[in-house]
Amino acid sequence: METYLYIALFAPIVGSLITALFAQMPKKICVGIFTSTLIFISFISSMILLNYVDEDQIVHVKLMDWISAGNLSIPFGFVVDQVSVIMMVTVTLVSTVVHIYSIGYMDHDESFNRFFSWLSAFVFSMMILVMSDNFVGLFIGWEGVGLCSWGLIGFWYKKHSASWAANEAFIMNRIADLGMLMGLFLIYWNIGSLQYDIVFAQIVNLDINVVTWIGIFLFIGAMGKSAQFPLHTWLADAMEGPTPVSALIHAATMVTAGVYLIVRAGEIYTLIPDVGLFIASLGAFVAVFAASMALVNRDLKRIIAYSTLSQLGYMFVAAGLGAYWIALFHLMTHAFFKSLLFLGAGNVMHAMDDELDIKKMGGLYSAMKPTAILMSIASVALAGIYPLAGFFSKDKILEVAFNNGSYFLWFALFIGAGMTAFYSFRLVMLVFFGEKVHKKLGFNPHEAKPFVIYALTPLALLAIVAGFFEQSFHEFTTQLLVNYEFTLDHSIALILIFATSAVAISGIAFAVYKYKRGGFSEKIEEWGVYKLLINQYYIPKLYKDGIMKPFTSFSKFLWLNIDNMIVDKTVDMIAGAIYGTGEKARKMQSGNLSSMLRWMVAGIIILLALAIFYRPMV
């Protein structure tokens, strides 16, 4: 089985490195095919491993030692267990689809080869992240996906906004990574190891305060990668990248790494329910907060990005409340339908010559029927309508919130579910149905190539059926994860399901109803709430004016006024003072013999005076 593990892990990087050699050459279609094949091989290996792990076996290998100093010893070790194999399968599956899709999507791009190199490198980093058997290995993947995300968001580096967004994402993640590093240090100095198995075995022996701090630090790390408030702004800006990137990184895989971390470290978080509650609260807040911004946005991709943010909130609620398997389950289903949604959006963008304003589209259904259907499926799944995947996973989360007695959280998520349904169908309606605005603007939409559409079908299929695997998923993952005990009465649970479904359906209905008739009037744009939402609660502006600008000017101040004027000038002044004294002392050498003689006599007289008046003689 180790062979499969290594194949699953290293196939992507092989593709990436080989492709990198062609990075500067003109487009070679075989590059796309080659990398896609390797990712597919990786997927197959992951499936084999899934099958193997299903027989209750765990693959654990140690490749080699990495860092060792003092008492510290960190190996390159990898583990395939119930959690990581789920992630592996999800990642490689979505990656395969995205790779194939990209062959079509990036067809006309001059940096076609470079794109695939980065994309495969990302998959490799993600695999390291999920497969590592220790926290530092996870951190390698953690930073690696950050790097690839930087390279892919800023893929079109000629665009100022793209490279800016790339830097923003990287830096915001760095802030969180510092928190994570602190968590690692704390674990190390208390346990002496960073291996998962040792840490989880010994964590119970630690002082609860220490565990709390570990939990907080690790969660700070998760906040960055999963774009939780207040480190969320980078995710929306990251939509500057090519759409497949958004689908893979900013929907299905990388952003869920934070959730994965919490799930993985579940043994730590079960010890500290207070921190868990905080995580859940923050998640619920983000779920509503992000959904509210999605309500009014006109940018096709940003809407989906906010939706992702919102769904991540859901996952954190589950993870925070200890329902790790549910979080993981939602993570998986969400990966399917959200990447489908993004890839569909990519088709739309292509059709509309990279126009993103949904108000300029409308009635695209006639031009691109398959895409419209696929996106509708994804939207329904996202809204959580039975029997699609989203229904199972999302409803479970609401149930957990209710079960936990956190009614407020439940209510927030409930509202969020309604909003989700509304904005999803607002998007679908504005893009595919209604008045054909794009005709007026002179667009000439066309459907994507057939193989692109075919590539999307597995995702669509999974978005529909994945929910039915809930039971087996539960059994499978809870072999490793802490199980979550529902104490809820069956009838209440049923009521909850109905309530949630009702609010989702009414949200959809409202959207369909409203946008069939041309949508809301322009007037609401004058509303304060609308302005608040469209400006993303003024948070980006706050960051810009409140942090970036002061930082820049303070840096300039430090350089020009402190470093140049004070620190450096002091040194120069000391030198100057000595030199100046030299110039002054030089006057003593007047060259006049008379004064020279006087100096001598004066010297004698002073010494005589000292001889008379100063006598420290014992």
């Binding site: 030089r586 050498q589 060259g591 006049n592 013999l593 008379s594 006087r598 006599v601």
Partner: protein, 100 residues
């Protein structure tokens, strides 16, 4: 009775006069005179002390000082003549090529 102290006081006074001369005189020749006064002031002291101790070293020293003073003035006057030939002046302030 004129004792050792008187001689020493005389010596000191002469020495002081010499010093003042060294500081004040602007003519090189006068300056050389002043240095001669200095040395001779010391001579008085040496002779008087030698007599006081009944020791010959003082007298010897005085003789040597006289000899040295003589040769010194020979060199000094030689330099003075050289300088006078070159610049036509025996003023101290004319020695001002080098300073700083």
């Amino acid at each position: 009775m004129i004792g050792l102290t008187h001689y020493l006081v005389l010596s000191a006074i002469l020495f002081a006069i010499g010093l003042v001369g060294v500081m004040k005189r602007k003519n090189l020749l006068m300056l050389f005179f002043s240095t001669e006064i200095l040395l001779n002031a010391v001579n008085i002291g040496f002779v008087a002390i030698g007599h006081y101790y009944g020791d010959l070293s003082g007298q010897m020293f005085a003789f040597f000082i006289i000899a040295v003073a003589a040769s010194e003035i020979a060199v000094g006057l030689g330099l003075l003549v050289l300088w006078y030939k070159k610049t036509g002046s025996t003023d101290l302030d004319s020695l001002s090529m080098m300073k700083g």
